[in-house]
Symmetry: D2
Subunit: 355 residues, 4 copies
């Protein structure tokens, strides 16, 4: 169904942008895991709006309340449910968009799907706001992965046409902006500011790596790591593409070039290159699992756009009032990491289904 | 699980490359649909090996036998199961690869996952052979979609670095090669022949469009059309990336450029551009659903490659004997169409879950 | 997984007896249904403790708060999530039972399953408290079924060895006690009082009927109405058996006796008897769907019981302090109706999956 | 969906009574398990018709052919698929029943569900024939359970009103008839013969015990062992009730009587009685898991019955020609054991999902 994903670990997201709360239920979490709620809050802070001059002005504390599944901070085996109250709700802002759909948003498709009964406020259940509970789940998964020696990291692979440089599996992230190369980061920030100044927005791509994975995770065919990661990553609004390892560039390669030669590193089996992104036949090979996700530019822009008044079927101009986040990719990075962490932990728990 | 996908329609693939048969079960097919088995066979013929000098020499008739779910050629509501016998089985060819894994194949990851008990012959359950039952399912889904006025088409978006030109939503396919531009097709064939002559292989990308879709299909978050299509498409071996609409190029766009303006075409709501690939918020908007999938080059190549002998942990040279298919993308096109057809029909059946 | 059930409609329960809240998420609810929250509260009041001298003294208002899925009281298609705060929490009462498990409770099995990390307070996630969110879901489903002309009713089929008399598909329920025959109800109440006076408890059986069902709901084999109803009903604590129609008595019948003869009633197809409980081959036949569920006596009793101190592996006496509900069946009736309503609505939504 | 069940292990049944074959796919079977196909055939022989004068005259060899998932008799981790050809097909026998539905069969409900397009022959996908592939799956699961020291056994708890005596968890089964008490078995056989002589049939109940189970299997709420076992057992045609441990008799007990006192047996935790059937809170407690399933009498009887001609809506007499199995319970015992074995193995594999 729409709001649930996972096989051994099952995540359900609920709530809408302007409903009383958003939240998540994570079933299948093993009992006895002490969760560091401070780390969960820090992780959530990375996606919170209002923290930087570069993003939207909506400010919310985003402190999760755990309603079940925790006893004195330790998981008890029951479903883990946490919510975040929506405190900054202005439903009145959105009534117009049922009639005059915003380009690039789900206003029109939601209206068709729900026969006009959908929740138009702030995008309803389609809202980027739902990445907050995704990040709660992600923060929980990341803590469990850490116990297994598995870490997840991401950076802005590109933004507004400017590519980062460096190797996400090895290089350090800059302290103040999620890039590997500070000069590229500076250019990206300029691109964001330029777009904002023109009432416009920019797209970008996130790159994410999972390090420390054992070989043998995942399943053939529809249970491959690519399928699993993609199933979750496309749950993040604005993602229009995903690629693993060398990704789309494999289409231009020869086999002799794209095949990753097996080799040894001490007593470990490695590959000399990692064009496959750590996945062969859907199964991890022990190398870093690397993928990239493409984000379209924020569809909410201040510039006047053409759209259709559905009620009169006449074309009209639309100017979306208010301040907008000119680039969602930065705040989406923890959501991307969350998606990866969830998919990997799900596969890891599944690996233990043996006699 | 690994070999099952779908929500309202559930597809299970079974069999291995060299087991007695491969097959599929499709649950949730409505009763009373007359299936044209001739069209199913024709569709399967498009992926069959041995039909052209450009592909592998393994020749199999690939005529499906329906074991259940059909009464006098009409679906009866019971699970639809069909199998294809594996007649050209040479398990002896593959015993080596458990010890000396082929680069780019699942030999190593399968060995780790199954503790050495996996089926190494011909890739086992990881084999491209499993796209044959996927195509049976696809052929069935396509016939049901046609009754709803929905069609699916695909072409080689690129191959060996050569891009096709044209618009898959509008232009005609060439009669003898699945491209829109015959000159580009000629160049692609040359690239394949060149790779074959050097004992090498080439990658490529498939582009697929679903036409005639109503608006309102799909679900928010994890039930979006992107998630659904990706979940199936990554079940096709060698796929390393998928993108919808403008795909990765949205990462370099401004919002004013990527937003598709709503407009009217008679009494229909359309968008003037289709950067979103017919999907907004995971839901179809009534425009063509367009996506591309990147295929890595066939990993089986005649050229000598470096790999590791796992038993001795020593690096070694590997030369894979036999004739190989230098490009899997051509034969994969019906599998891509099948994945799209399955995902769309699944969503379409789900739309009818109303009171 | 443990806390989720359903196919077209998916219900997840979360929370523990003494966690901050219990709640439920119901996915797949069609958009545009106006919910009467007053009726939901009235329905919940039927299961609430503390309403009668016959049940436990724990008193909670049990007013659900909807966190998502509702807009101005109308479903919007997003997952419907509601919670009830746990206001009367005394976790200290239960610390003992991890070491000295109460007979008939999940103290021991939970401790084994969760390696000692489970939540022992009040039964944790195993608690009868979880029937509160089940009843929220049930109340929502019942309102949707009512729009389709389908109603659900139940009575105490037996309690403490005293059988009710009458026909639940036709007769009126007594106003003050959920039986058809007031004299049998009086005897049942006496049985409860007698057990309470002795620090003991009584078991009972609930009978439930779903009226107004169309023929054709459900699926063959594992998707039969029996499977669907049983999957949910066994989610109610203390249920140890379920039977449909004539149930276990069919085992002593001849075929000529148990077969329900088809007949007509005006232009409707009916059966002259209903030994099959309205289900043939797993599919509804248009007659009332009738089933009974057996409830064991409340395991918490004041009388001294034998048990084992797990820490020392020595047998010991246990006396469970506090007031206990000497019969859970009465309060379980709305949970049984909820289970039936959920299973039927799930099947009904599935029936609409057609082209 | 209708024909699939399971969580960690997933079973799909396919085929109809008179389709080319019936079969099953079992996903999630660990790799590296050597299967004894002779034992599978012997197990299947227990449910095969035509083996005794007491059952139907349809004779089929029922030798399964494994199409995938096995390499040299050892599971390879791929889905395990096996089929049995239907060799004794007489579809002509059943054309009448679409118009004049047989009482107690799914003729009418199937016709409504599938809009007349269902497969009426021999009950189609509703047929008891589908217990053959269920038994293949069961035989496979039983072999895996045996490796864990877990065994499953069953007997005729009652038949035609005659109860067996003895304790299925301890006593030996008779060699020639599946009862514990040979004298009761003799009476049961007489009851069957008497029914046959009158063109009638008898019902019965099966009792099944799973021995050697560890404590801690299963999950709370909807994942309890009762839910899991019931979900599969109701997939066997003709089952109208299921009860665990003391079952429906708990409804007449006091808590002090039904509560099973914990005690020790050496260093094992046991209970002195087993009214809970080895399940507390849905989780196994290490005692035998015991349940009973009620089977209605074979609905196909030679005696003239009343039914309705749907085409004319007039009541009519129906006499079902041919020889019929006057009691399905005997042949259903391996199906009941299969259901138990599947549910237990599924839970066992799920227990291993830990970090």
């Amino acid at each position: 169904m729409s709001s649930t994903v996972g096989e051994n670990l099952r995540l359900t997201l609920f709530g809408q942008s302007h409903s009383p709360a958003v939240g998540m239920t994570l079933e299948g979490v093993p009992a006895g895991i002490a969760l560091d709620t401070g780390k969960i809050s820090s992780f959530l802070a990375r996606r919170a709006p209002g923290r930087s001059p570069l993003s939207t002005s909506r400010r919310e504390a985003d402190l999760p309340e755990f309603l079940g599944g925790l006893c004195d901070g330790v998981t008890c085996g029951a479903p883990l449910t946490a919510i975040i109250r929506n405190t900054d709700i202005r439903p009145g802002d959105y009534s117009l968009f049922g009639k005059i759909p915003r380009p690039g948003h789900a206003d029109y498709t939601g209206a068709v799907k729900y026969g006009g009964a959908g929740d138009p406020s702030g995008g309803g259940h389609f809202s980027g706001r739902l990445t907050a509970p995704l990040c709660i789940a992600g923060a929980v998964c990341l803590q469990m992965l850490e116990r297994e020696g598995i870490t997840v990291r991401s950076h802005l692979f590109s933004l507004g046409g400017i590519a980062d440089s460096g190797d996400i599996t090895k290089d350090e992230l800059c302290p103040d902006f999620p890039v590997l190369d500070p000069e590229r980061g500076r250019l990206m920030r300029e691109a964001i500011e330029a777009a904002r100044a023109e009432g416009d927005s920019v797209g970008g791509a996130a790159e994410c790596a999972v390090l420390g994975l054992p070989a043998g995770l995942g399943d053939p065919i529809f249970g491959g790591m690519e399928n699993r990661v993609a199933s979750v990553v496309f749950g993040i609004p604005a993602v229009k593409g995903i690629e693993f390892g060398a990704g789309f560039s494999v289409a231009s390669m020869r086999g002799s070039e794209s095949n990753d030669a097996f080799a040894r590193d001490g007593d470990r089996v490695i590959t000399k290159t990692n064009n496959c992104g750590g996945i062969l036949g859907g199964i991890t090979d022990g190398m870093p699992l690397v993928f990239r996700a493409a984000f379209k530019p924020t569809p909410s822009i201040g510039r006047v756009q053409k759209t259709l008044d559905i009620s009169s079927m006449s074309e009209t101009d639309l100017s979306i009032p208010g301040r907008h986040d000119p680039c969602v990719v930065i705040r989406a990075l923890p959501a991307v990491e969350s998606a990866a962490a969830f998919a990997v932990l799900d596969a890891l728990l599944g690996r233990k289904k043996e006699l």
